[in-house]
Amino acid sequence: MEGEAAANASGVRHADALIALADALVGDDDAAMGKARGRLLQAVGACGLVDAAAVVSNFERMVRIADATGIPLDAPLSVLAGELGKELGLLRYASAANTPAPGTVARLIGALFRPLAHGTLRLARLKGRARGGTSPLD
């Protein structure tokens, strides 16, 4: 599932308009930029638009830092992520070469701790609901 259907299925409010802004700001089509800006402005207001532009520009900075210095994914995250990179098709990225595949022991540790990580997130969601608000994980 891709595109707007995927965005809308994500459960994130105004996902489609946010993604459209990110796409336009990373691209170089000024007409698309204007259209995306207007669409996001309608969806989340002026402050939301400014925040979205700030996040896009932040990550235009961060991806270049990562790719220009050859840093690997941090070891704990790499272990916990397991096969996720492969499942999401991320291994085709040239920069995937900067993160060595975890060894056998690391893969075993990851397999052991991934259910715990899922459980912890589930607990955080339940606790958030119990406190009477929505959990940020909802």
């Binding site: 802004l21 990110a22 170089d28 991806v63 990225y93 920069s95």
Partner: protein, 245 residues
């Protein structure tokens, strides 16, 4: 010195963003660790010039980024190796390789110069992208300030997992104590630590653009956008740029 201002912008830019950009612009004009103020501003000018480089456009369309060997359309103020770094990082960051990086160092650029160069590029680029996002013209580049580059190199910096030397995770002590809580940081924060001032700029901008380091683990941290919306946008940019990290 030109001050950065968003007064008169079509959309209300938060004070913390405006102030972080003003600090970054001031730092841009000052002598750095390995580059003078004039050189730092020249890097920013070359970055903006790179967007119109025909060689970069041709290279981006080519199957291999290294099959195009013509020199870049350049302003001529910097050495070719620095120009190549600026243009490639600006226009084709997803295909940078260790072998290319090693050729850059072999051409005479030092590792410290390279790291500071990356720091200047990404600082100016991120502010320019933000301006485009809120429909503001790019800020005029500042007048460079006189003075010598400090030449500072953190004593703890060493080669470990990246292409460049970095301060170890537990090495944020002494003069580097403010960079992160010693023993607890991510590689992307350590990445520019061979030039600690670039990490300071990164943290300052990141706190205003994204989320302050101390709130990173708080899944409720957000402003007008909630955390999930923020991470959706962050993930989208990372996917568009094919950044595995």
């Amino acid at each position: 010195m030109e001050e950065i201002s968003y007064v008169g912008a079509a959309f209300p830019v938060r004070g913390d963003l405006s102030e972080a950009h003003a600090r970054a612009w001031r730092r841009l004009s000052e002598p750095g660790t390995h580059w003078s103020g004039a050189e730092r501003v020249a890097i920013a000018a070359e970055l903006r010039h790179a967007r119109g480089c025909r060689v970069c456009a041709e290279r981006n369309a080519a199957l291999s980024p290294f099959s195009i060997t013509a020199p870049h359309d350049s302003l001529g103020a910097l050495e070719p190796a620095a120009v190549d770094v600026i243009h490639r990082v600006a226009t084709d960051p997803r295909r940078l390789t260790r072998a290319w990086f090693e050729r850059i160092l072999a051409s005479g650029l030092t590792d410290g110069q390279y790291v500071e160069l990356i720091g200047v590029i990404v600082t100016v680029l991120s502010i320019d992208v933000f301006c485009r996002g809120v429909d503001v013209q790019p800020h005029p580049l500042p007048e460079p300030r006189e003075g010598k580059a400090s030449g500072y190199r953190p004593p703890a910096a060493r080669l470990d997992v990246a292409w460049v030397p970095m301060v170890p995770s537990r090495g944020a002590v002494g003069a580097e104590a403010d960079l992160w809580t010693s023993g607890r940081t991510a590689n992307v924060v350590r990445a520019l630590s061979l030039v600690p001032d670039e990490v300071r700029t990164l943290k300052d901008l990141g706190g205003a653009h994204y989320i302050p380091c101390e709130k990173m683990a708080d899944l409720r941290a957000g402003r007008s956008l909630d955390r999930r919306q923020i991470e959706l946008v962050a993930g989208r940019v990372s996917a568009l740029r094919e950044c595995f990290y």
